[in-house]
């Protein structure tokens, strides 16, 4: 299950940690927490929904070793270096940097929304009402679009 869904974990690590080292530490922490939590997974929800919950919970509850540096321009992507200068990659970096300027709970909401989880699933993962999900998402979408412009 982890192998099939590791894209989710990598993407969450990208938006919750700045340095490559911090992202690697978070990735490993998430794998460890998924392993520990798996016995309590009853299959009541989709495996990707459960995986998202554990991943986001770990990202928000764990402490980073290094100080956050959201405005840093020395952002190191953990993908092939030859992609750095192409236009698509620059756009993607800008997109990710914009998400990282949101608060931690807002990053969780937008990630879940962009991965097309329903309001009900998002509310279940975060432990807030569906109505609140809608209100928050409207605000976040406007803010994100402004940040990207």
């Amino acid at each position: 299950m982890i192998q099939d869904n590791q894209r989710i974990i990598h993407k969450v690590c990208r938006i919750y940690r700045d340095s490559l080292e911090d992202r690697e530490d978070l990735f490993q922490e998430v794998i460890f927490q998924l392993w520990r939590s798996y016995p309590s997974f009853r299959g009541g929800s989709k495996s990707s929904t459960w995986l998202y919950r554990i991943t986001l919970n770990t990202a928000m509850a764990s402490f980073r070793k290094n100080k956050p540096n959201v405005t840093s321009s020395e952002y190191l992507p953990d993908i092939q270096l030859e992609d750095i200068n192409n236009e698509g990659n620059e756009r993607q970096e800008k997109f990710l940097e914009s998400i990282k300027r949101l608060s931690e709970p807002d990053r969780a909401l937008i990630a879940l929304y962009l991965d097309e989880l329903s309001y009900q699933e998002i509310a279940g993962i975060l432990g807030i009402s569906e109505n609140n999900v809608g209100v928050k998402l409207n605000r976040i979408k406007i803010r994100l679009q402004k940040l990207i412009k």
């Binding site: 590791q6 894209r7 990735f27 794998i31 928000m60 402490f63 070793k65 009402s129 679009q145």
Partner: protein, 183 residues
């Protein structure tokens, strides 16, 4: 950018694919970077405080002193060590509820209690060690200065401990507050 474009961008993010063997290795406690660092710190503290107790008993003839004084020394040194082992267990428990809000709430509660007990035990440690020296050692000028320097060092570590916990719990509380906003 429109929402569909944002979704497309999100889905097109390139991510590495980590092999199964490496993932399996990551599930093991011994390869966990944070837990390894905590284990290392616990071992150093255990060796350090054990050496301290040996010096007290062998070098300062603590075994010839009143039982109560020795008991205070041992309890004040051993209790924080035992509690640190509990802390190691707590550092593994990041998932503490069926959803993120309740998990963060429970985690904040556990950390608050842990931080409070840690600070109290550190104060007991300073008091216990200080009491031992004052009551059993013939204090000369140089020994008083040494004791003073040791106390200052322990008080500084106590202050740093309080600062670290305040910052960590504050950060989690702020995340939870933002998450529950408008609820």
């Amino acid at each position: 950018m429109e929402i569909e474009e944002l979704r497309k961008e999100w889905k097109s993010i390139k991510t590495p694919q980590i092999e199964l063997d490496r993932l399996k290795n990551m599930t093991m406690e011994k390869s966990h970077p944070v837990l390894s660092a905590i284990r290392k710190q616990l071992t150093i503290e255990l060796i350090g405080w054990s050496a301290f107790l040996i010096i007290c008993f062998a070098g300062l003839d603590a075994d010839e002193k009143p039982i109560l004084t020795n008991a205070i020394l041992i309890v004040s040194v051993v209790l924080p060590m035992i509690f640190n082992i509990y802390g190691y267990g707590l550092s593994k428990e990041l998932i503490a509820g069926p959803d993120i809000s309740s998990s963060l709430k429970n985690r904040i509660g556990s950390l608050r209690l842990f931080a409070l007990v840690s600070v109290v035990l550190r104060m007991i440690l300073i008091t216990g060690v200080g009491y031992f020296f004052i009551s059993t050692v013939n204090l000369t000028q140089s020994k008083i200065m040494l004791l003073g320097a040791g106390s200052v060092f322990l008080i500084i570590t106590l202050y740093m401990l309080v600062r670290i916990w305040t910052k960590r719990i504050g950060k989690l509380s702020s995340t939870l507050r933002l998450l529950k906003e408008n609820s």
